[in-house]
């Protein structure tokens, strides 16, 4: 199939960006990133700069691939990362607009690559437990109910890709922070540092320059792991709980 692309090009963080038209031949079995690989091969052969984009595992688990495709982070399929999007979603002659995540907390490095170290800074502020757990224990050695374990796992599914920020009209990172806080606070190992975790992660989130949440729900709709907005209500509860604590 013949695909027309409008891709965001930007040579550096402080440079003016613009949309550049390209055309590429693709077949329906290709993943979206493979289609971009084909384009880049042609650009390289012609002596031009290839389109820079983030990618790593190419199997939907690492959170590296990040592009807004026709106005939707990760493209048109629900619960699907860009690397797992395939060209069978498109028809011959279709035009596709591709732009990077847009947020002041995610400055563009080049073309479609953005700097997501703000997420790392948030993680460093509290997205962990300070317990030496050793090797994986026997499954039932610590009695955690299945409902709790399942719920924590749903939130642990967050891959930190930033699609939530990209989709949010306010460029808020609440769903990301909420996923980490919810995941860890629901489990006994995370309970010890609950209060400091939520306070410090929210502070880091604000300092990074993300926006605030007005409950649009766009984040959850864009999330490739279908994380529920309930995480945000949980985060708000945790934050108030920490706020009313005596210490």
């Amino acid at each position: 199939m013949h695909i027309k692309l409008k891709i965001w090009r930007q040579t550096g963080p402080d440079k003016e960006g613009y949309f550049e038209p390209h055309e590429v031949e693709a077949n329906e079995h290709m993943s979206f990133l493979e289609m971009l690989d084909v384009l880049n091969e042609e650009l390289l052969a012609a002596g031009k700069e290839p389109v820079a984009f983030d990618h790593d595992c190419r199997e939907g688990i690492c959170g590296a691939c990040s592009m807004v495709i026709d106005g939707r982070p990760h493209g048109p399929r629900d619960g699907t990362t860009t690397c797992q999007l395939h060209m069978r979603e498109y028809h011959d002659g279709q035009e596709i607009v591709i732009e990077p995540w847009r947020a002041s907390a995610f400055p563009v490095i080049r073309d479609l690559v953005v700097d997501r170290r703000a997420f790392d800074r948030i993680q460093h502020a509290g997205g962990y437990i300070s317990v030496s757990t050793g090797a994986a224990p026997d499954a039932n050695a610590i009695p955690i109910g299945k409902r709790t374990a399942d719920e924590a796992f749903d939130y642990a599914a967050c891959i930190g890709c930033g699609a939530c920020v990209a989709a949010c009209p306010n460029a808020s990172a609440m769903l990301f922070v909420a996923s980490k806080v919810a995941h860890l606070s629901l489990l006994p190992q995370g309970e010890v540092e609950r209060k400091d975790r939520v306070r410090n992660m929210v502070t880091a989130m604000d300092e990074a320059g993300f926006g605030g949440c007005t409950n649009h729900g766009e984040c959850s709709a864009a999330c490739p792991k279908n994380i529920s907005v309930d995480a945000i209500s949980l985060l708000n509860r945790e934050y108030m709980r920490a706020g009313f604590a005596r210490d």
Partner: protein, 245 residues
């Protein structure tokens, strides 16, 4: 975890976080919604009659200092709501300085996207409403539809005790005028839109709308908005079509 300052310093710092400001908006918003509900029931007394409505007006004025406590309280709540909104709006705008070519909306609503604009309409309307019924400029507030130069604020109802302000007639004369009716209809629609998203959003912000409670609270906002909208529209429309005279 990094070394901490003392608890009070951290609390003060935390009060400026986006979540804290959102909680302020949620709580003040719910208080304002509560006022709106009570205010609405006041108006509905128009259906009971002239005496009932004028007695209600008299009662409100007779509260004296208590009335001013309530007014200042409302004003403080409103100022907190608007102040928190302004701070968050600035943060949200600087969070995305470069616009997308196109970002598709999947789940949000029109009301959610235009909360600020609706809020500003409501602020302007509050000023108008106060000038119309509470504060007393000369000659009422109709520019194009003179009722023989009626000064609303001089309307009096004669009762056994004496004479009192005829708030009932003020209401009736006002809403017989299409321009005034239209203003209030538009304001009520703006209020309904603002509440439809605001009430649900407030419940999510304070962590109520979660899990099994998500759907009930999702419905609460629009349901409350419809209830309030209909309740506010009923008396003016009844006046306009002649049910209340």
């Amino acid at each position: 975890m990094p070394a901490e300052q003392n608890g009070f310093d951290r609390l003060v710092r935390a009060l400026g976080s986006t979540i804290s400001l959102k909680i302020v908006m949620a709580v003040t918003g719910v208080l304002l919604a509560g006022f709106v509900l009570i205010h609405m029931t006041g108006h509905l007394q128009m259906f009971i009659g002239r005496d009932a409505y004028n007695e209600y007006g008299e009662f409100m004025q007779s509260l004296g200092p208590l009335l001013w406590v309530a007014r200042l309280g409302l004003l403080t709540v409103l100022a907190a709501h608007v102040g928190a909104m302004a701070t968050l709006l600035m943060r949200n705008q600087s969070a995305r300085p470069e616009r997308y070519a196109g970002l598709r909306q999947q789940r949000t609503s029109l009301a959610a996207m235009y909360m600020t604009e609706l809020g500003i309409v409501l602020l302007v309307f509050i000023v108008y409403h106060l000038l119309h019924f509470t504060i007393a400029p000369i000659g009422g507030f109709s520019v194009h539809h003179e009722f023989g130069g009626v000064d609303y604020y001089a309307l009096q109802q004669v009762t056994e005790e004496g004479s009192r302000r005829d708030l009932y007639s003020h209401f009736v004369i006002s809403f017989q005028q299409p321009a005034i009716l239209l203003t209030y209809v538009l304001a009520t629609l703006a209020l309904a839109g603002h509440l439809a998203h605001g009430v649900t959003s407030a419940c999510k912000t304070v962590g109520l709308a979660i899990g099994r409670w998500k759907i009930p609270f999702e419905l609460l906002g629009p349901a409350f908005a419809v209830f309030i909208g209909l309740g506010f529209l009923a008396p003016p429309l009844a006046v306009f079509v002649g049910i209340i005279q």
